[in-house]
Symmetry: C2
């Protein structure tokens, strides 16, 4: 296994103009014909929450950049209470890396942030991937359903919690979930810290604020003019799948891909298939 792997690549650090020292990983295969792909992760997640199978399949064709946003896990600073501030924190990070142009993939909360970045700097993001996410003011995004909320708020989330939140109840989906959770343990050196409870509360505030029902917010999506790939599982109980439809309807140049027998964690249930779809979409 070379350094071109999520399992072995070292943690890196960079101090940005906002005073935050960001922990990140950057690896893969740089290539003149493509751009680095910045990945923004989900609620309560750190660098180790990216499935090695998924990101390594991306890294086979491009550089990938994983990051702990301000206040999260191995980065300094504090986690803000709004998606908009989180987006500005990511911009401070990409500026610190001197990334002038890049592709962007956001999953869940990371997808909320990715939309804001695409709107703030339309000249900078080349292509956008929105996975398991939804638009500001979308449908049933304001408050998790009770069984999701209980798990999402727990002080000590278990790996098994991801099975319920990210996978379908079918045997096939749950079996894929068990394999995913095993893969999350493959990295043994330099593991990232868990996000703390302050981060949890700030992120959940940001998520609920983003989800206040307000269909007038959908019109902002017309401002995302770059090619966009929207994807989700067909039964996402965290960010309901209908929100992916809304994204694809309102973003002018969007493709939509819904995976069967899967939920919020479809990208980790179909890691090779979805990485192939993303690689094809981004080009090489």
């Amino acid at each position: 296994m070379s350094a071109h792997s999520q399992i072995t690549t070292p943690n890196l650090h960079v101090e940005a103009a906002n005073g935050v020292t960001y922990r990140y990983r950057r690896f893969g295969t740089p290539n003149k014909s493509n751009l680095p792909l910045v990945l923004l992760v989900h609620y309560r997640a750190n660098l180790d929450n990216w499935d090695p199978h998924f990101v390594d399949a991306l890294a086979a064709e491009r550089e990938v950049v994983l990051v702990d946003n301000a206040g999260v896990s191995g980065s300094t600073g504090s986690t803000p209470n709004s998606v908009q501030e989180m987006a500005r924190d990511v911009l401070a990070f990409v500026d610190a890396l001197r990334l002038r142009r890049y592709d962007l993939l956001g999953f869940s909360l990371g997808g909320f942030i990715a939309q804001e970045i695409a709107l703030y700097r339309p000249w900078q993001v080349r292509r956008l991937v929105l996975a398991g996410t939804g638009p500001q003011g979308g449908v049933d995004m304001h408050l998790f359903i009770p069984k999701v909320l209980d798990i999402a708020l727990a002080d000590d989330p278990t790996p098994e919690a991801l099975l319920t939140l990210f996978f379908e109840q079918s045997a096939t989906s749950r079996a894929a979930g068990v394999e995913f959770i095993e893969r999350l343990g493959l990295r043994t050196a330099e593991r990232d810290e868990y996000a703390d409870l302050t981060t949890r509360d700030a992120q959940l505030t940001a998520i609920s604020t983003w989800g206040i029902p307000d269909e007038t917010r959908l019109k902002r999506l017309a401002g995302i003019r770059i090619p966009t790939l929207v994807a989700n599982g067909d039964n996402d109980i965290m960010v309901p799948t209908r929100n992916s439809y809304l994204l694809a309807e309102h973003i002018p140049n969007a493709a939509l891909s819904i995976y069967p027998d899967s939920g919020h964690g479809f990208l980790f249930q179909y890691p090779v298939e979805f990485a192939t779809e993303v690689n094809t979409f981004l080009g090489s």
Copy 2:
């Protein structure tokens, strides 16, 4: 160019138990690990309305079977007024060919028929592709919008009518549409007859009857248990794209793929991309 092409393959005929002599084409690459793919075409269409680029890309990996349904173009018999009767006519054809098990791709009206066949013979259809189509009782499927209806009803439809009905108004989509229309002329020998006005009126009656708003009909889709790929353009003005969402939501094991900058004719705007997606879905 071998006989493995929509441009050169001969027209074939078979008489079925219902007394109808069906005109069809059967070509491609038979393969022990897959099954023939039966394709059901759109309103007023004949065998020559299948884009050679699209079906040849399918035929590179499997046998494809194109057919004029009863009463249409080069087949004898009369065109029935209901999707249900049309489905029974297709079953008479597959029985005449002694196809015991096959994959099925339906486009538009062909997709309505394909759903019925999958429900009538759940043991026979292995995998299902529903392109640019919608469920019985779906949304805005009862009556075409006026600009579509004018063109769809015209006694002498022009090739250019397809540009309006099948493609987006963008320069890229229209340019792809012009190329598609040119490809429809590539076959010179043994071209099929145009569908007549009796077929037009019967098919339009079947389409409108299928489209009577009735959300209770959506529950039938739970009976389609086979793996299904639902696909459309993001702005279909003939069978509005929301109906693809409904299909994917209600068919238990469905993947959904929406193509950007495209309409009803997305499969002919992206002939190689969509054929690749279908080939991947069907396996080889």
